[in-house]
C-alpha cells in the first residue's frame, strides 16, 4: 500500500455536504464503491471535489469472494470502470459471502474455515485481480457462529493470505468481537496472526445484544475503550495506516472528526 499514509475515515453520503474542503480532512478516505456506482446529481460535484483532495481506497461489499460460485464478471467490470474512473489503486472486500445462486443477502455471511474454501477464494482472487488489474485485499470478518470448519480462524487467515498472496485488511474490532463471542483471547489471536500480510487497519464500534448475549459488529456506534486499547497494542506490532469505519447510525461530520482526533491520540501513544 504505497499511496496512503497516516489515518483515514470512511466517506459517507450522510455527511458529504458537511465537509469543507478548506477545513478538516483526514489523511485519506475509504469509500464503499457500490454506493457510488450511481451518484445522485446533488452529490456528484461535492464527491468529486472531496475525493480529489486526498488519496482514496475502495472497500467493497458485494464481491462475495467466499461463495462457492463463480465470480460475477458483470459486477467486476462495473467495479473496474469505477476504480479506473476515479484512479483508485486499492480495492478490498471481506472474507465472507454475500450472495448465493444469484440472490443477494446484502450482509456478510460466515464461511466454513476449510482448505477447500481457501483454495476457492485463492482461485477467485486471481480472476478478480486479473480483471481489476489491482491487488485484492480482504478483511477478516465477524461471524456469529462457526460453520462446519476444520481450522481455527487465525490459521485459516494465515493460510489464506500465504497461499493466495492477498493482502489483509486487519479489522481489530472484528477480532475483538469474535474473541468475545467465541471465547478466545484477541491478544493471543494477534500473537499468532502473521501481520506481514496486513495492509491497513479498520477500527469500528459494536453493541451488545443483551437477549442473545453476543456482541454485534454494527459499525453504528463509537469505538469502545476496549477496542481502542486493542488497537493500541496492534499498532505497537505493526506500522500501517489505520482508519475509522462507520456505516450505520452515521453522526455529523464534526462528531467523526472528534473520533478521528481520538484515533490520532491512540496512534501517537502506541508509536511513542
Amino acid at each position: 500500500m504505497n499511496n496512503i499514509k497516516g489515518l483515514g475515515l470512511g466517506l459517507r453520503r450522510d455527511f458529504l455536504q458537511e465537509i469543507d474542503a478548506d477545513g478538516f480532512l483526514p489523511d485519506w478516505w475509504e469509500i464503499a464503491p457500490e454506493n457510488w456506482f450511481d451518484i445522485p446529481y446533488h452529490h456528484r460535484e461535492k464527491f468529486e471535489e472531496i475525493i480529489s483532495l486526498r488519496p482514496i481506497v475502495a472497500h467493497g461489499l458485494s464481491l462475495s469472494i467466499g461463495s462457492m460460485e463463480p465470480v460475477d464478471m458483470k459486477f467486476l467490470k462495473k467495479m473496474k470502470n469505477f476504480l479506473d474512473r476515479y484512479d483508485i489503486d486499492h480495492y478490498s472486500d471481506h472474507i465472507s459471502f454475500t450472495s448465493l445462486m444469484g440472490s443477494q443477502t446484502y450482509d456478510l455471511l460466515p464461511l466454513a474455515m476449510t482448505k477447500k474454501v481457501i483454495e476457492r477464494i485463492s482461485q477467485k482472487a486471481k480472476i478478480v485481480e486479473d480483471i481489476l488489474q489491482r491487488p485484492l485485499i480482504l478483511e477478516n470478518a465477524t461471524y456469529y457462529y462457526v460453520p462446519d470448519s476444520d481450522m481455527r480462524e487465525v490459521d485459516f487467515i494465515n493460510e489464506l493470505m500465504a497461499s493466495s498472496g492477498i493482502g489483509l485488511l486487519l479489522d481489530v474490532n472484528n477480532i475483538y468481537v469474535n474473541g468475545q463471542n467465541h471465547g478466545f483471547d484477541p491478544y493471543k489471536f494477534l500473537d499468532e496472526l502473521e501481520l506481514e500480510h496486513a495492509v491497513y487497519i479498520h477500527v469500528a464500534g459494536y453493541y451488545k445484544d443483551k437477549e442473545l448475549g453476543m456482541l454485534i459488529d454494527s459499525h453504528g456506534m463509537p469505538v469502545k475503550k476496549e477496542v481502542w486499547r486493542f488497537l493500541e497494542e496492534t499498532l505497537r506490532r505493526v506500522q500501517i495506516p489505520v482508519m475509522i469505519e462507520r456505516d450505520n447510525n452515521i453522526p455529523k461530520y464534526k462528531v467523526m472528526q472528534r473520533e478521528y482526533r481520538t484515533l490520532e491520540k491512540v496512534v501517537d501513544d502506541a508509536r511513542a
Binding site: S67, F75, M101, T105, Y106, D107, Y145, L212
Partner: protein, 232 residues
C-alpha cells in the same frame, strides 16, 4: 460439497425457506440482520404504502421477495425488483391501486439516485429537435395515488415525475392526455415526430399542434424535462 451445503443451509434459514433451528443464536442473528437490511430498505423506499399496510403482511412479503431473490448488486435498485415482484405475485391482490402506488414511490427513488446530467440550456425553438430527458418519467395511472387519502379513487390519470436540478427534489405533475401522448412519443422517437403523431391522432394540423404546445415545451426545456438533440 459440504462448504456449499453450509452456505445453502444458512441462506435458506435467513430467507425463511427453512425453519430457524431452536436455540441457535448464530442463525438467529443472521436471520435478523438480513431481514433488517431488506425491511429497512423497502419500508424507506415505499413510505406511503408502508404507512398503511399491515406490518405482518409486509414482513411476509419481504421474506417471499428474499426467497424469490434480489439480484441487484447496488441496493438502491432493489425496491424496483420488489415492486415488480409484488406486481407479478398474488400478494395484496385486494389493494387494487398498489401497482400504481409502488410505481409512484419507486420513481422518486430512481430519479434521485440515478446519475443525472443537466443539459445545455438554449432557448426553445422548433428549428431544433428534442427528446424526453432521463430525468423525467411519465405514466398513465388507474388510481389517484398522488393524492393522499384518495388512493382508491379510480380513473385515468396522466402523471409526469421529474427531477428538479435546482432543489434536488422530485416533483409530480398531472398532465393532459394530449401532453402525455406527446411526451410518450418523444421518448420513443423525437419531438418533431411526436408532434406529427399527435396531429395525426387528434385530426389537427401540425402547425396548430406546434403552436398549442410551444409555451409548455419552453417550460419543459427550462426544467430539463426535454433535451435538445445534438447532431454530430
Amino acid at each position: 460439497m459440504r462448504e456449499l451445503e453450509e452456505q445453502t443451509k444458512l441462506v435458506n434459514i435467513v430467507f425463511g425457506k427453512s425453519e430457524l433451528p431452536e436455540g441457535h443464536k448464530g442463525f438467529k442473528v443472521y436471520k435478523a440482520l438480513v431481514l433488517h437490511r431488506f425491511y429497512e430498505l423497502l419500508s424507506n423506499a415505499f413510505p406511503l404504502w408502508y404507512e398503511e399496510v399491515d406490518k405482518n403482511e409486509f414482513k411476509k412479503a419481504v421474506y417471499k421477495f428474499m426467497c424469490h431473490g434480489a439480484k441487484s448488486d447496488v441496493m438502491w435498485k432493489t425496491p424496483n425488483e420488489f415492486r415488480k415482484f409484488i406486481s407479478e405475485s398474488n400478494l395484496f391482490k385486494n389493494t387494487a391501486y398498489l401497482n400504481d402506488l409502488l410505481w409512484f414511490e419507486w420513481i422518486e427513488v430512481k430519479l434521485i439516485m440515478k446519475s443525472q446530467h443537466i443539459h445545455e440550456s438554449k432557448e426553445f425553438s422548433y428549428r431544433s429537435d428534442y427528446i424526453l430527458s432521463s430525468s423525467c418519467a411519465i405514466k398513465k395511472l388507474k388510481y389517484k395515488v398522488f393524492e393522499r387519502g384518495n388512493f382508491g379513487h379510480s380513473g385515468q390519470f396522466y402523471i409526469m415525475a421529474y427531477y428538479d436540478f435546482s432543489d434536488y427534489e422530485v416533483y409530480y405533475r398531472e398532465i393532459s392526455e394530449l401532453m402525455f401522448v406527446l411526451l410518450k412519443e418523444a421518448k420513443k422517437t423525437t419531438m418533431k415526430k411526436a408532434i406529427e403523431k399527435v396531429a395525426q391522432l387528434s385530426g389537427n394540423d401540425s402547425k396548430d399542434v406546434r403552436e398549442f404546445f410551444k409555451d409548455s415545451l419552453k417550460e419543459l426545456l427550462d426544467l430539463n424535462i426535454i433535451e435538445r438533440i445534438k447532431y454530430v
